[in-house]
Amino acid sequence: MLTALILIPLLGAIAIGLIPDPPAAPSRAKPIALITAAIALIESIYLATQYDVNNAGLQFVEAQTWITPIGLNYHLGLDGLSFPLVLLNTLLTVIAIYSTSDRIDRPKLYYALLLITSAGVAGAFLAQNLLLFILCFELELIPVYLLIAIWGGEKRGYAGTKFLLYTALSGILILASFLVVAWIGGDFISFDYADISTAHLDLQTQLIALTLLLVGLGIKIPLVPLHTWSPDAYVESSPPIAILLGGVLAKMGTYGLIRFGLELFPETWTLVAPGLAVIGAISVMYGSLAAIAQRDIKRMVAYSSIGHMGYILVAIAAGTELSVLGGIAQMVAHGLILALLFNLVGLVEEKTGTRDLDALNGLLNPIRGLPLVSTLLITAGMASAGIPGMVGFAAEFLVFQGSFSVFPIQTLICILSSGLTAVYFVILLNRTCFGKLDNSLAYYDRVTLPERLPAIILVAIVVIFGLQPNWLVRWMEPTSARFVAALPANEMAIPAIGQGLSPEFTPPIASLPQPLTAPSLAHRD
């Protein structure tokens, strides 16, 4: 079943390569790619109906030995962490393909690369073997580089090279970390997640391995100050590629943080967690502040993405059941909202021919503007700014509530930054949607319904999960609980409400003269 998720896009890519285009007719590449991606989406939705929500462990496991001497096994599985991301990947692939312009150059190569990327991402999320993960992680690298460097904007070569350099380094560092873990000491069986543990390593080696891993993942996420590839890559790539890059590919970094950071290094994790939380808070603040100063709306969205990924880092660093759950939910929420934003910004650019805040104005105008696109853009911006009723708020709130008891200061900085998020989105909306449309310039093409469709679908998902977050988090809860249970320093997590507070419990905010006396919670049950 799971192999199909990787195989279908790959077969689609091959099919696109092999089937010749009819002469003097539109290329068949897009329909084929779309059908392939849709089959993958249907397949993953089918898996959702078969998925046992209450099972915290791996499901649909497929295990084959592959190259035993180096410990590479073909071992796939799904759990509450990877499943939402796999679904997100298949959904956004469909949207990226669907929203690609029909007039694109070299369509066969484009769609084939896009499908290969999607397959690589799916493989990385499904892999249960470190080497297999690395393999898939690297598999998407070259296609994405080409997608940026061929179909990108003005500075595409620069952005593509930068992306390639950074991400290749990231892969190497992660691989190095895995090798340290697997080969130093202990008895090596294979690179399967189940066979690997760091328990036998001394603290120093663990720290080195974890540092390598974190730097590698930190580049991918991206975290400040390793982020400089991302604004360029997001801005220069075409909107569909930006959707994949920001919506899904960046999630491999945060996925790795939970899967490898939390699971492989439970002991050392608590050591680096405070530092990580600081970096997360800096990223949030940095991304938001940098976004305020941008004059290019796509660049603004790109920096906003850096900020929003910071929340996830703070959540994972805090390592409470609630915060990790919030972190996973935020991955999905961010993926959806960012995809929506890039899609709309792409539409605005396509219709008006500019992304410049100083040139755009009054798109809400009902007659000559882009009223529906503007309405959706307002919704998307507000969702990203964390207005309740949309999925961004639900996820961010879980992050805040979960992290507050462990890292109060960092959490407060995150809350403060979500205010800055509102600042730059208001700047963006006031400039693009509000204001007076220049009638002499406004001869925009009509936005057709098919063009609006992806954004409408994404808005619907964002609102539905925002009103009913339980439908989202119930997939993830057992798995996130399992990850957190493995952490040794679980006493730093707040006890769940209703269980009462243990007498020796002192939350960090109470590192004050008098300990907090727990109120009687017993009556509340």
């Binding site: 593509g160 100063a293 309740p388 006031n430």
Partner: protein, 618 residues
């Protein structure tokens, strides 16, 4: 049947929400055949349904204990967030007020926005406001109160930005949104921080918990201050009051709701969380001080405004300052009465002045005058509205303020002086407003001023009737203060303070004087008040400027330092030409260097706390 209504109070906000959704198809470009008007009629109809439902439910629960309902909204990882609803005579009464006022405002808007094409947007936002307000009064949970306040902040942004092609409107909407958001976010901090300590967000449980809580004073103070911040922003109290003034760029019918009910949401939430705030005497004092400063300051500012909407917005801030004082000293009963009186009286003032502004095409009070002869009905309504928020017997305001004055008389005479002073200032401002509009001589602007469409006049006069009956309502509900239990002569003192204000205002603005009254006040003081204590400049200096500078600095840092080593030496051009050959280009070493430096910084930040932990021997 009535029982069925009170069992399903969750439906009350849903009517308006359904109306808001149904209005959307009439957005420009979707339904073309009918014009935008059906959107308005649908919303009026659904407001009537909400009103009927809440009235029916109110009659059913009248005099009985509250019915509570609870739905689980989120249940994950040990965090259960329940949506608690409470149907009591108080909450349902508030729903009746909200639904009826929104109904009046929507009827009023049919006439006021007769020629506007944005009906669908306007009515769905009004529906959103009604739904949010009803939901807020019905819900019994701090978390959902926060959620609604935040959604209403977004609603304010959209409705203030209703006429979005004017640049003043756009900046007004921006400022309103961001100022309110500041308050909301600090409130969110309080909400997040409260749960681990108190273990609940339910107001009833919080009050129970606070009764026995033994909290560290610092924690209690920080928490209470965070919880106050939201209401301060909502109620447009100093220093977050500017948004209400900026929000006056929105359409007049929306102001009916905003100046009355939307600002009152803050006070409502404050009354509910008062037990928690009371844990910190410092926070309580700060809250009273904020209220007192706003009451005196904003009512003084309102005297110096020449824009009629700004007069009303500062009057709103000032009166809510009094409500803050009442809540702070624990007179929440009096606070609720004051809110009731204020909501009706201010709505009447807004509706009355709005119908003048509509015909005379000016909001500038100095351009008006002599309207009494032409618009006696509207004049009467404005007068009733203005007098009713003063402490003037026999109108409602008197009966609401007297219990507060009596309480302050015994405990805090200095606060009583603040209340009396504010009351006098409100009196001056009301008399000035009335005098400038209806007294004096006819100007070019007011030469032709017929009474408006019946849809303007009927809601206004109807509301005036209700306002006049407020004391009767108080008597029927048996909440009129018993004069014989109060301190002697307190009623007289309060009355005299109102009369003094009215007299001063009338002398200068109603009776013809040789000298324009404005020259009596020295210019700097006049400007100080007219320009709202220079608050916009203060914001610019203290908040907007620093954030702007910081963001530019970060952007500069990002471009030239972190990303910079390469770009600085101009390798960017080389890169774009050579794409894959980066490793053969000698200068790409700069690039590697910048990566290495970034990684070093990353590792140091990450590692420092870890090193400290290790050196501390774990």
């Amino acid at each position: 049947m009535a029982h069925l209504l009170s069992q399903n109070v969750w439906l009350i906000p849903c009517y308006a929400l359904i109306g808001a959704t149904l209005a959307l198809p009439w957005s420009p470009g979707l339904v073309r055949r009918t014009g935008p008007r059906p959107a308005g009629y649908i919303n009026v109809l659904l407001s009537v349904m909400a009103l009927v439902h809440s009235l029916g439910a109110l009659l059913d629960v009248w005099g009985q204990s509250a019915i509570t309902e609870s739905f689980v909204w989120l249940d994950a990882a040990g965090l259960t967030i329940t949506l608690d609803l409470e149907a009591s005579s108080l909450t349902l009464g508030a729903c009746v007020v909200i639904a009826s006022l929104n109904l009046l405002a929507q009827l009023y808007a049919i006439a006021y926005l007769e020629m506007d094409w944005g009906w669908a947007r306007f009515y769905s936002l009004m529906g959103l406001f009604e739904a949010g307000l009803c939901f807020l009064v019905l819900c019994n949970s701090l978390f959902f109160s926060y959620v609604i306040l935040e959604i209403l902040t977004l609603g304010t942004y959209l409705i203030v930005g209703f006429w979005y092609n004017q640049s003043l409107v756009v900046t007004g909407a921006r400022d309103a949104f961001l100022t309110k958001r500041v308050g909301d976010l600090v409130l969110l901090m309080g909400v997040v921080a409260l749960l681990p300590i108190a273990g609940t967000w339910n107001f009833t449980d919080l009050a129970e918990w606070a009764a026995t809580a033994n909290l560290n004073p610092t924690v209690a103070t920080l928490l209470a201050c965070a919880l106050i911040a939201g209401p301060i922003a909502k109620c447009a109290q100093f220093p977050l009051h500017l948004w209400l003034d900026e929000a006056m760029e929105g359409p007049y019918p929306a102001t009916i709701l905003r100046n009355t009910l939307v600002v009152s949401t803050g006070a409502w939430v404050l009354i509910k969380i008062m037990p928690v705030i009371a844990l910190s005497p410092f926070a309580t004092q700060a809250m009273i001080l904020t209220g007192a400063a706003t009451a005196v300051g904003a009512s003084a500012i309102s005297i110096a405004q020449i824009d009629v909407k700004r007069v009303l917005s500062y009057l709103t801030s000032g009166y809510l300052g009094l409500v803050f004082i009442a809540i702070g000293v624990g007179a929440s009963h009096a606070a609720l009465m004051m809110l009731f009186v204020f909501v009706l009286g201010m709505a009447l003032l807004v509706m009355g002045t709005g119908s003048i502004v509509l015909n005379n095409i000016t909001q500038n009070l100095t351009q008006m005058g002599g309207l009494w002869v032409r618009r006696p009905v509207t004049g009467l309504c404005v007068a009733i509205g203005g007098l009713s928020i003063l402490a003037l017997p026999p109108l409602g305001g008197f009966w609401a303020i007297v219990p507060l004055a009596d309480r302050l008389w015994q405990s805090e005479p200095s606060l009583l002086a603040v209340v009396l002073l504010t009351n006098t200032a409100i009196g001056i401002s009301v008399a000035r407003l009335f005098g400038l509009m209806f007294g004096g001589v006819v100007t070019d602007w007011t030469r032709r001023s017929p009474e408006g469409l019946w849809l303007l006049v009927l809601p206004t006069t109807g509301l005036a009737g209700i306002v006049l009956h407020v004391p009767v309502l108080f008597a029927a509900w048996e909440i009129l203060p018993q004069m014989n239990t109060l301190a002697p002569s307190i009623g007289a003192i309060v009355t005299w303070s109102s009369l003094l204000g009215l007299a001063i205002g009338s002398v200068f603005y109603l009776a013809p004087t040789a000298q324009p009254p404005v020259t009596l006040v020295p210019q700097p003081l006049r400007d100080f008040l007219a320009y709202d204590f220079y608050t916009p400049q203060l914001y610019k200096l203290l908040v907007v400027g620093p954030v702007n500078q910081l963001s530019r600095f970060i952007s500069w840092l990002d471009r030239y330092i972190i990303d910079g080593v390469v770009n600085f030496v101009g390798v960017a051009a080389v890169f774009s030409g050579e794409s894959l050959k980066y490793n053969t280009s000698g200068r790409s070493q700069f690039y590697v260097l910048s990566i290495v430096l970034s990684i070093a910084v990353f590792v140091v930040i990450m590692g420092l706390p870890a090193l400290r932990l290790i050196s501390a021997g774990l």
